[in-house]
């Protein structure tokens, strides 16, 4: 008697779960696979030679160089500041808990604020018409419409990624291992390298991969700050934007393909880093 309704509901749930799976696959194919295939087809549409021609344009080579530079500098800076900020947030007993809570919520600001607005804030602060902007300009190092501004804008966007990877790990391992090290005679630098670092290094690796991926693909903030000047401040993403704008779809597809290949490689590295992180699982 009691088995009948159970089978009925399970049958019902299996049909509804089939529908859900179907929807998921359709969305996946529609949003990810078809555009990706489109990029590949578009890039090879006029033959391999035109693909290389598009990529070997001076402005394309320059854009790749700029993107690579931004990624390297931003990743280095973000790793350093991210680790320091995370340690300060979790371990910083010298800060009152209220200050730490405030900082903690401020760190997520770039997640909430549109990258374009982030770029705009840098413009308002360091643009050529402002006091600070003029100051740096006079020193011969303009910030906005130049490389430092692009690094700043990308840093703004990627800032939470590293901290949000490391802070939970630090929280989880607690302070006892570090205290044990100090009872055994290790000062803070030794304690960090011998005790803290081995625990957080896979979190840092994951954070680095996320940062590289994010800075590689950043568009809005960089567009506002860089001014998208060809052969000067143009990155790969803003070049794709300009190519599309000029109806040079084949060239846009070629550059987009390079970006897509980088992203897929990063995705694989990310999976590997995630597995190495082992015990530590994630909410996002």
């Amino acid at each position: 008697m009691s088995t009948a309704p159970t089978t009925l509901t399970s049958k019902k749930s299996s049909t509804s779960s089939k529908i859900l799976i179907l929807i998921t696959y359709s969305v996946f194919i529609l949003l990810l696979i078809i555009p990706l295939v489109q990029i590949v087809i578009g890039a090879f549409n006029h033959g391999v030679q035109s693909l290389f021609q598009a990529l070997l344009r001076p402005e394309a080579l320059h854009a790749m160089w700029i993107t690579l530079s931004v990624v390297v500098v931003v990743t280095l800076l973000n790793t350093l500041f991210g680790v320091l900020t995370a340690i300060m947030l979790v371990r910083g007993q010298w800060l009152s808990s209220r200050v730490r809570r405030f900082l903690n919520s401020m760190i997520d600001l770039p997640f909430a604020v549109s990258p374009v607005i982030g770029g705009f804030m840098i413009m308002l602060l360091l643009g050529p018409q402002t006091v600070m902007g003029a100051f740096f300009s006079d020193l011969g190092m303009p910030i906005v419409y130049a490389f430092p501004g692009m690094v700043l804008a990308t840093l703004f966007v990627t800032f939470p990624l590293m901290i949000r990877e490391i802070a939970p790990v630090l929280q989880e391992i607690g302070t006892q291992q570090e205290e044990a090290a100090s009872m055994l005679g290790a000062y803070s630098w030794t304690t960090f390298w011998k005790v803290t670092w081995p625990s957080i290094r896979w979190g840092v690796t994951y954070g680095v991969v996320l940062t590289v991926a994010r800075s590689l693909g950043e568009f809005g903030a960089v567009l506002v700050v860089s001014g998208n000047i060809m052969n000067k401040t143009q990155t790969m993403t803003t070049l794709v934007y300009q190519d599309v704008d000029n109806f040079n779809i084949a060239a846009a597809n070629s550059v987009a393909l390079v970006l897509a290949v980088c992203s897929i490689t990063l995705l694989l590295v990310m999976e590997w880093a995630k597995r190495r992180k082992g015990v530590h699982t994630h909410a996002h």
Partner: protein
């Protein structure tokens, strides 16, 4: 190491965790800090270690003020409650950590680690990682790691709390004999009175940030100085007055008087079983708890509920049965003074000589 603590105070925000604590410890002693959770025991221990900074007061080792000496230079071994082993290091590397930091020569480190592995019975597991060890083994590694740099003082924070009951008893006696063999001054924190009584040379009872009493386990059992101590050691019953009981008519019932009876001071028996029938009360058995090696019996005398033990050799009592209850002695706490009051009827005023 000779340790002295003077007027130690510690606040955590508004919370006064340690209040005017004073004590001194002789070299080579094994001291148990005993008290309820949140009583400030661990704070005292962490201040001795240098992991916490006292708000006022002084900590002296061998007569030297240590307040501003960082934990790295205090020469103290610390065993953490959850061991805090370095989980990415092998047992060998864990034990060798302190020696590597102090830049001992490699050969000497190897010899010292081998010696400690032998001493703690861990030989053969030195290549394993902490997550591959049992709770008891982890505890031994933590212990070996703390002892490796030859500290003068060993501090242990709830060393047995995370181990299951059976192994805990083994480890307790193992730890006591090991500390005796090494001859190191040691202080451990516990909330378990059996543990403190069994292991420690001297117990310090700490409650609400103050030291209630310091002494040997026997002294503390025999003459507790406060009702708290008397209640904390043993399974006592605390009563407001006892004047209505036979043999204790002389105890005045005042507002601030507290009377405490230990189970071992009470005898129960079926009618005719007890020798001093004239000094006994009648009671009704309310509950019986089997304790493995004895019965714990709750018996109601009038409106008082008393606890006592009964040997498994004696006839078995039943709930609801009327029994004779003989109270040998009680503790009376009267404000600041305390005394032991014997049952007056036990001394027969008219002995009959045969």
């Amino acid at each position: 190491m000779h340790i002295e603590v003077r007027d130690l105070n510690k606040w955590f925000g508004q919370y006064h965790a340690v209040r005017d604590v004073n004590f001194s410890i002789e070299t080579g002693q094994l001291i148990g800090l005993l008290g309820p959770s949140g009583g400030g025991k661990t704070s005292v221990l962490r201040m001795l270690a240098g992991l916490e900074y006292p708000d006022s007061g002084e900590i002296l080792f061998h007569g030297k003020v240590m307040n501003d000496v960082p934990p790295q230079e205090r020469g103290i071994g610390f065993v953490f409650q959850h061991y805090a082993l370095f989980k990415h290091m092998t047992v060998y590397d864990n034990i060798a950590f302190g020696l590597t930091i102090q830049k001992w020569p490699k050969a000497r480190i190897r010899a010292r680690v081998a010696e400690l592995l032998e001493l703690t019975g861990l030989s053969g597991v030195e290549k394993r990682y902490p997550h591959q060890l049992s709770g008891g083994q982890r505890q031994r590694v933590a212990f070996a790691r703390a002892l490796a740099p030859e500290p003068q003082l060993l501090l242990l924070d709830e060393p047995f709390a995370a181990i299951d009951a059976k192994i805990r008893k083994e480890l307790r006696s193992w730890l006591k004999s090991l500390i005796e063999r090494v001859g190191i001054t040691s202080i451990f924190v516990t909330h378990d009175q059996d543990e403190a009584i069994e292991v420690a040379d001297e117990i310090m009872i700490i409650q609400q940030g103050t030291v209630e009493q310091k002494g040997t386990p026997w002294d503390i059992y025999k003459s507790p100085r406060t009702p708290f101590v008397a209640e904390f050691i043993g399974e006592s019953t605390l009563l407001e007055s006892i004047g209505q009981l036979k043999g204790f008519g002389q105890v005045p019932a005042q507002s601030n008087t507290k009377v405490l009876i230990r189970p071992e001071y009470i005898e129960v028996g079926q009618p005719g079983e007890l020798k001093l029938a004239s000094a006994s009360e009648n009671g009704i058995v309310k509950a019986m708890h089997f304790r493995g090696s004895e019965w714990m019996i709750e018996v109601a005398v009038g409106d008082l509920l008393l606890k006592t033990y009964r040997s498994l050799e004696s006839p078995v009592l039943h709930i609801g049965e009327t029994v004779q209850v003989l109270i040998h002695r009680v503790y009376v706490f009267d404000g600041d003074s305390h005394s032991v009051v014997e049952n007056t009827l036990k001394e027969d005023p008219m002995p009959i000589m045969i």
